[in-house]
């Protein structure tokens, strides 16, 4: 086990390469350019997460990628202490567009998180894959 970390230190966690497939390739191409895309359905107008070719609300195949500022609030979180590389935080962010996104929180100490806190997306490099969205206090 590692030593207990300084509680004021910001959390970081090495992230493995995400699985990329033909359905999600445009998301990861945009991520490499620092752009955060979400999917929106043309017929029903609803945004969803995680991105799919088929809308999970109306099953329409007419979904389009939309760039998002990646802003929202923390819905919930949990700081994982059972971690050899130090504590890290997982949680959901409710985007201003509606959908909730599972993510890690960075740029904040383990005791600095709260439900309702405003956060914004940033991209973190991964181990051999495209960067992935994480969220930090806005």
């Amino acid at each position: 086990m590692s030593e207990v970390q300084d509680k004021s230190a910001h959390m970081t966690r090495a992230i493995p390469a995400p699985v990329v497939n033909v359905e999600t390739q445009p998301f990861w191409d945009a991520a490499r350019e620092g752009r955060f895309l979400i999917k929106r359905c043309v017929p029903c107008g609803k945004a969803h997460w995680y991105p799919r070719a088929i809308c999970p609300f109306c099953m329409s195949g007419e979904t389009v990628w939309k760039e998002s500022p990646g802003e929202g609030v923390i819905y919930t979180y949990s700081v994982m202490h059972r971690s050899p590389s130090g504590p890290y935080a997982i949680g959901y962010v409710t985007l201003n567009e509606g959908p909730a996104v599972l993510t890690n929180f960075v740029g904040v100490a383990p005791d600095g998180l709260s439900i309702g806190m405003k956060v914004k997306v940033r991209f973190q490099d991964t181990e051999g894959g495209p960067p992935v969205p994480v969220f930090a206090p806005a």
Binding site: R13, I15, W49, Y50, F57, Y88
Partner: protein
């Protein structure tokens, strides 16, 4: 078609091992099957239906039917919802029996997570990665912290406290002290739970279930077979199941489980209400799992679970709703990280009057077993089974 009264649980066996370095997983499945057959007074050749989930090795049902030499099987089901699979299997077995597809259905679970570094996985689902993998699996989600997220939100919305969650573990430990096979037999206090090491906020070490090797088996039979056996009859009254996930992320709701759907389905089929239940087996991967499921099943109002579980209300002989009298997954056994089958087994013991005398519920004639498989914090399968003692 309803399954009410169409099938009976006549055999139930929980493997006594909690650490099995000297046995293989298929061997444990088979030993559990042998135990359930002996319990029921049935033999290998009577089995004509077989049910297993992702913990079954190799080709699942095909591998295990062949390993166990079951030559009369005419109905197979390997529905996989993680730890709740075996609760779904009870309902599915009753359906198959009601339709004449089989008359003696064997359900097995077994595994050896203690022999693998890291406590083993969830099993099942080979081949392609899950569709959400690229967007979820990278964030270090585990059962601990995804259930932790549910507990955090429940505390935020309803004011639930760590002390209230701790009462669930305390109740389980009071029961486990009487179970000679329990992995953890020591009675613990609320203070010990809330002062145990933090694992994933707000869940402490003692909010988490045990990791054990082992397994269990059930035999579900037709009424005709049940009448031919010299064992108390546990009648299946109703069953419900429901998957729940983030649903595209809109209106995310981590304070409810799929029990809000599976529970009413089972109660309606059985024709009973939560207030009628004498004993409850409630899946206890973590303390928060129990609290949310009790609310969702209707044992108390949403948000009142913390109050409901406090002050020993779940302790047999003390509170209003005796739960997990074997010590549950929190203290007794969570074989191969899947606790569904032990929930049914302890309910069967209670209905037969064969639970430990210190925890046996008097006149226990109606029981519920409920489970959650997968993760409450992402996607899970809920399953509810209601059983009645006949005669």
């Amino acid at each position: 078609m309803s399954i009410k009264g169409k099938a009976y649980i006549m055999g139930a066996f929980e493997h006594p091992t909690r650490d099995a370095p000297d046995k293989s997983t298929p061997q444990l499945h088979a030993e559990c099957a042998i135990g359930a057959l002996a319990d029921a007074g049935l033999s290998q050749d009577d089995i004509d239906g077989y049910f297993c989930a992702g913990d079954a090795p190799g080709f699942g049902g095909l591998s295990m039917v062949d390993y166990m030499g079951l030559t009369n099987v005419r109905h197979l089901d390997s529905t996989e919802t993680g730890g709740s699979s075996y609760l779904l299997h009870v309902g599915h077995a009753a359906q198959a029996i009601a339709e004449g597809k089989c008359s003696v259905a064997l359900i097995t679970l077994a595994g050896r997570p203690r022999q693998a570094r890291g406590g083993g996985g969830r099993g099942g689902g080979g081949g392609e990665p899950a569709p959400e993998a690229g967007f979820e699996n990278i964030y270090g989600g585990s059962t601990h912290n995804t259930y932790g997220m549910c507990a955090m939100r429940h505390m935020y919305e309803y004011g639930t406290t760590s002390e209230q969650l701790a009462w669930i573990k305390v109740a389980a430990s009071h029961h486990a002290q009487w179970n000679e096979h329990a992995f953890l037999k020591d009675v613990v206090t609320v203070e010990q739970v809330v002062n145990s090491r933090m694992i994933a906020d707000p869940l402490h070490l003692l909010d988490c279930c045990v990791v054990t090797d082992g397994g269990g088996a059930l035999l579900v039979t037709s009424p005709e077979v049940a009448r031919s056996l010299n064992r108390p009859k546990v009648k299946i009254m109703g069953a419900g199941e429901a998957p729940k996930g983030p649903r595209g992320g809109l209106d995310l709701d981590l304070t409810h489980s799929g029990a809000v759907w599976s529970g009413p389905r089972a109660f309606e089929e059985a024709g009973v209400k939560p207030a009628d239940i004498k004993y409850a087996s409630i899946y206890d991967s973590f303390t928060i799992t129990v609290l949310m499921q009790l609310e969702d099943l209707g044992f108390c109002e949403k948000g009142q679970g913390g109050k409901f579980v406090s002050d020993g209300n779940l302790i047999s002989g003390v509170g209003k709703l005796p739960f997990n009298t074997d010590g549950g997954g929190l203290c007794n056994n969570h074989p191969t990280n899947r606790g569904g089958i032990t929930k049914v087994i302890e309910a069967v013991r209670q209905l037969r009057g064969e639970a430990h005398p210190k925890v046996q519920v008097p006149n226990c004639d109606l029981a519920i077993a409920h489970g959650t498989g997968g993760s409450l914090g992402t996607r899970h399968g809920s399953a509810t089974v209601i059983m009645e003692r006949e005669g």
